[in-house]
């Protein structure tokens, strides 16, 4: 396998708001750009299926959702190569990108890559969360956007964050049977959040929207619980009830579907694969990629934009993507310094405007400790069915980080490759070892970025050297590995 030559100026991985904005901007600046996404259509999760969404559903979801068409239109207007249904499973140290599309392997390469792989929902490990019928609130929203469907039967939502309220409202509007919302934000969150209220007032549209949602839900007559603790989902073969502590006593809400949500966190698989610098943010309780204001990471050639670097929301992601494209174009010598600075200024202002609400929201909806450091009996690694207690046991055995813990307990060895358990394991270990999450670290991520068939790998082997005198299997006879 010889080195892949450059095929593009810029490769953008992820077609959510950051990726679409980045790709469209870059193409408009004359960069030979390709936009890649694993999903069948552009849009990421927030604008999932926006190009083909049913008009009634689109109307229900409102202008915040349909805004996504401005981005998909912008992409379609430019001469920009878009490859959907394309799974990127490796980015090599020399930035060669390897993917799988329609079961065919492909490799492309560019001097600049923008990773815009977005966010994932923070896991909400509670007893019973692995039961069928328990989904993330975001999953219900995806089902509504892409399939025009809502959960059948009684729905209870539990957790914290704007998305929790938004999904509750959207499900109500769609005619679903929402029976209750159980908020888990601790009381002291409000006190801490007040400090940031002045800054948040500058982003008053966000605040107004939040208040409207809360009022809508209160007026609908659904059950409402605040400062709930000790969530537990009960049921024989599937979710049947949510049990919790609130108002000084045990509460029970019978339901056919439980939707959990505690905010979103950056999806850092790609940035970890390339071993760029990350930092743990204590307010968001999540890893962030260390970048400059043009998305530049600690690795030349790699930029990360949007929620994949740090959570800022969809509109901030647009500005972030456009800034990353500017940075790439400037780096490639396609922009004069003056032009670069001129174009960047309004984008930085826009970014700042949309980030103004964040400290307030992050404090207000900061997840409670018992969610990020679950009780011993709670499963944290769903794939390998490893409990929080087991992780703590590994720490007491001498494991000082997630990788040793993984080796000793198999936690993180399943097909999700640590996506679901990673942040929980870091926090559980940090608390157990009395260290900061920064010191404890995260899972080492290697290719493939998602499980791929062995055949997809062997297809890349150069036929002649698969078996021959210089092949790796011909070890010196007296030395063998075991």
């Amino acid at each position: 396998m010889s080195t892949v030559s450059m095929t593009h100026d810029l490769i953008v991985i992820g077609a959510g708001p950051a990726g679409m904005a980045a790709a469209a901007s870059a193409a408009a600046l004359g960069l030979k750009t390709v936009l890649l996404d694993e999903q069948a259509r552009m849009g990421g999760q927030i604008y999932r299926n926006v190009q083909a969404c049913d008009p009634k559903v689109a109307a229900l979801l409102g202008p915040d959702y349909t805004h996504g068409t401005t981005l998909t239109d912008a992409v379609n207007r430019t001469r920009l190569e878009v490859r959907t249904g394309a799974l990127i499973w490796d980015v090599a140290p020399d930035l060669t990108v390897t993917g799988l599309q329609d079961r065919q392997a492909f490799q492309i390469r560019a001097p600049q890559i923008i990773a815009a792989t977005g966010a994932m929902e923070r896991p909400s490990p509670v007893p019973g969360w692995t039961l069928p019928g328990v989904l993330n609130a975001g999953a219900a929203q995806i089902a509504l956007k892409s399939g025009g469907v809502v959960p059948q039967g009684r729905i209870v939502l539990a957790g914290a964050g704007p998305l929790l309220l938004l999904v509750a409202c959207q499900l109500l509007d769609a005619g679903a049977d929402v029976v209750g919302v159980v908020e888990t934000s601790p009381g002291h969150n409000r006190v801490r959040a007040l400090r940031h209220l002045p800054a948040a007032l500058a982003a008053w549209p966000y605040l107004a929207k939040g208040l409207r949602m809360m009022m809508r839900l209160r007026k609908s007559g659904i059950l409402w619980f605040a400062q709930a603790q000790a969530l537990e989902i009960q049921g024989a073969d599937c979710a049947q009830a949510l049990v919790f502590q609130a108002g000084g006593r045990t509460q029970r809400v019978d339901a056919d579907c439980v939707l959990l949500h505690h905010g979103v966190i950056p999806n850092t698989q790609l940035s970890r694969l390339l071993r760029v610098d990350h930092r743990w943010d204590d307010r968001q309780l999540a890893w962030q990629v260390v970048t400059d204001t043009f998305g530049q990471t600690s690795r030349p050639g790699l930029r990360v934009a949007g929620d994949g670097a740090a959570i800022g929301g969809a509109l901030a992601a647009e500005a972030s993507g456009a800034l990353a494209a500017l940075g790439a174009a400037h780096q490639l010598g396609r922009l004069t310094d003056d032009d670069f600075a001129t174009r960047a200024r309004p984008l930085h202002r826009s970014l700042a405007r949309h980030l103004a609400i964040r400290p307030f929201l992050d404090e207000l909806y900061r997840p409670p400790t018992w969610i990020v450091q679950p009780a011993d009996a709670t499963i944290v690694c769903r794939c390998e069915e490893v409990t929080a207690g087991r992780v703590r046991e590994m720490a007491r055995l001498g494991c000082v980080g997630p990788n040793q813990t993984k080796f000793f307990s198999r936690c993180g060895m399943g097909p999700c490759q640590g996506r679901i358990c990673g942040s929980t394991v870091t926090q559980v270990l940090a608390a157990e070892l009395d260290k900061s999450p920064n010191e404890v670290g995260a899972y080492r991520i290697r290719a493939p970025l998602k499980p791929i068939p062995l055949g997809a790998l062997s297809a890349l082997a150069v036929p002649a050297s698969a078996h021959g005198p210089s092949a790796p299997h011909c070890a010196p006879p007296n030395v063998e590995k075991e």
Partner: protein, 101 residues
């Protein structure tokens, strides 16, 4: 587990098999949505304990929605669109080879 909301524009119908039962879906539906519309909550049993699992995230992150599609095990149901004649089965534990133990 899921139901379609009323008054939506019709999309072309797709007919597929779920555990030898014929079910109807719409073009553009993922397998996950089609199965949930057909009433399924659980898609698989885990290889380790045999616990029943269904989708959690519907965006390709959790790997709990794994099903067997046209004989291929461990396919993420939320990442694949339905096709006419597709045969979907529950994923019972670890992958098995035809004629193997």
């Amino acid at each position: 587990m899921f139901r379609k909301i009323d008054g939506l524009a019709a999309r072309p119908a797709v007919s597929l098999f779920f555990e030898d039962r014929s079910i109807l879906a719409q073009e553009g539906d993922t397998i996950a949505i089609a199965l949930m519309n057909a009433g399924a909550r659980a898609f698989r049993e885990t290889p380790l304990s045999g616990a029943a699992r269904g989708p959690l995230c519907l965006m390709g992150v959790c790997f709990d929605c794994l099903v067997e599609v046209d004989g291929t095990p461990n396919v993420q149901a939320c990442m694949v669109a339905v096709r006419d004649g597709m045969r979907v089965r529950l994923q019972h534990g670890a992958r098995r080879f035809e004629g193997g133990t």
